[in-house]
């Protein structure tokens, strides 16, 4: 299958973005740019703000202060971006039905949907499970189906929120292989993870978040070999960042 050339939604620019929760600051003056190219991996402890950052970049949460711009525009319409949540909800349909629904929502003409569905299910290695109820798939299979649904939008930017949390190594490898495959097709991947090993395997840029702030933003090799912050050194040493 072909992916559209990265265009309208990139680059995504966050300008001094602050998001306040009920009693806490979830994101604190974040400035970041996500542009076409290698994947960006967001790492950090629980509560660092990774999920909120991804949701804000998707346009699902409005910043309390600051601005987010997609391709130079401040439109929140997610035309060329897609997200896979940490615990994706399967629609009460078959595996194939979930992808067809995503294609219809993305405005793909009816006549093209059967072919595109088959392509997408093959890409995420779910061919053969087309007619199984999506809610009866395993955790790893549901994540892959959520990826197929996200790809139905032909995104220029794909946001993944800990897609391998609670998956076994086999299922994790399957997801990572697909993510690399998608990135190689020109889709910008921004992925949140707890797993430092995964951050190394995905290869690209690393953004370390802690308490809603960007602590470090560097290419993967530089991040692991020459961490500039105390927090990054502690995080890599497996110490608790509190």
């Amino acid at each position: 299958m072909t992916m559209r050339a990265p265009a309208s939604d990139l680059p995504v620019m966050l300008l001094e973005v602050t998001i306040l929760g009920a009693e806490v600051t979830i994101l604190d003056g974040i400035s970041l740019t996500f542009d076409a190219g290698a994947p960006t991996v967001l790492i950090g402890p629980n509560g660092a703000g990774k999920t909120t950052l991804l949701r804000a970049v998707m346009g699902l949460i409005q910043p309390t202060r600051g601005r987010i711009m997609w391709g130079g525009k401040e439109s929140a319409e997610p035309s060329r971006r897609a997200i896979v949540f940490q615990r994706p909800t399967m629609l009460r349909r078959s595996t194939e039905g979930n992808v067809r629904y995503a294609l219809a929502a993305a405005g793909v003409p009816h006549a093209e949907r059967a072919g595109r569905t088959a392509e997408l299910l093959a890409l995420v290695r779910l061919d053969g499970l087309e007619h199984r109820p999506a809610r009866k798939l395993s955790g790893g299979e549901q994540q892959r189906l959520a990826l197929a649904r996200a790809l139905a939008r032909e995104p220029a930017l794909l946001l993944l929120d800990e897609p391998t949390a609670s998956l076994d190594p086999y299922a994790t490898k399957a997801i990572e292989d697909i993510v690399r495959d998608i990135a190689a097709r020109g889709v910008k991947v921004v992925m949140a993870t707890h797993d430092l090993g995964q951050a190394k395997r995905i290869v690209g840029d690393i953004v370390l978040l802690h308490r809603g702030r960007v602590i470090e933003n560097a290419p993967v090799a530089e991040f692991f070999e020459q961490p500039r912050s105390e927090e990054a050194r502690k995080f890599m040493a497996g110490e608790l960042l509190v």
Partner: protein
Amino acid sequence: MLENASALQLVLSGDPGLYAIVRLSLEVSLSAVLFAALIGVPAGAFIALTRFPGREGVTILLNALMGLPPVVVGLAVFMTLSRSGPLGSWGLLFTPQAMVIAQTILVAPIIAALSRQTIEDLWVEYRDELAAMNVGPLRRVTTLIWDARFSLMTALLAGFGRAAAEVGAIIIVGGNIDGFTRTMTTAIALETSKGDLPLAIGLGIVLISIVIAINALAWAARRAGLRYAA
């Protein structure tokens, strides 16, 4: 015992009078459920998915309307359709159509209240995914109704149960006219008061059998559906 045997004989003999009553009862109740579903499901979906001032009050009112007394609804429809009423010129009083109107009013709040709950629960589950797919308001509603269809069947069954068992409203607006507006429940009330227990028991057996059969069919459909779209 003798009365039970006569009742069974009446049912098994295919008595045309009895089956005319059964047919009319089904036509009235199923039509009322159909109209109530056309009103209740979209109304339930609207309340589930829309935030507006007084929404909680509307929800409480809707839940309360599930317990509408049939005789009060019957009286209200009677006054509306009677010759001196606002819709008296339609000439619907003491017709099956009047009975459908009364039962629709009784059943619609049940379907709307149960649909609201079902659709709201599913919306909580689907909200993020549908927002991420940039699904517009109309497709959102149709998606939720379609994906909740097996749960919504329970709302329709509850509505049918109410309609099939109801006597107070339809006896007022239908008049229990032999061969025209006599249903199973109104006939049972009449025959019991006249002392014709075999016919009353026979109708009772048919009524209960129909309710069980429709529930069994719905259960089978739900089970088959869940196998493919759980």
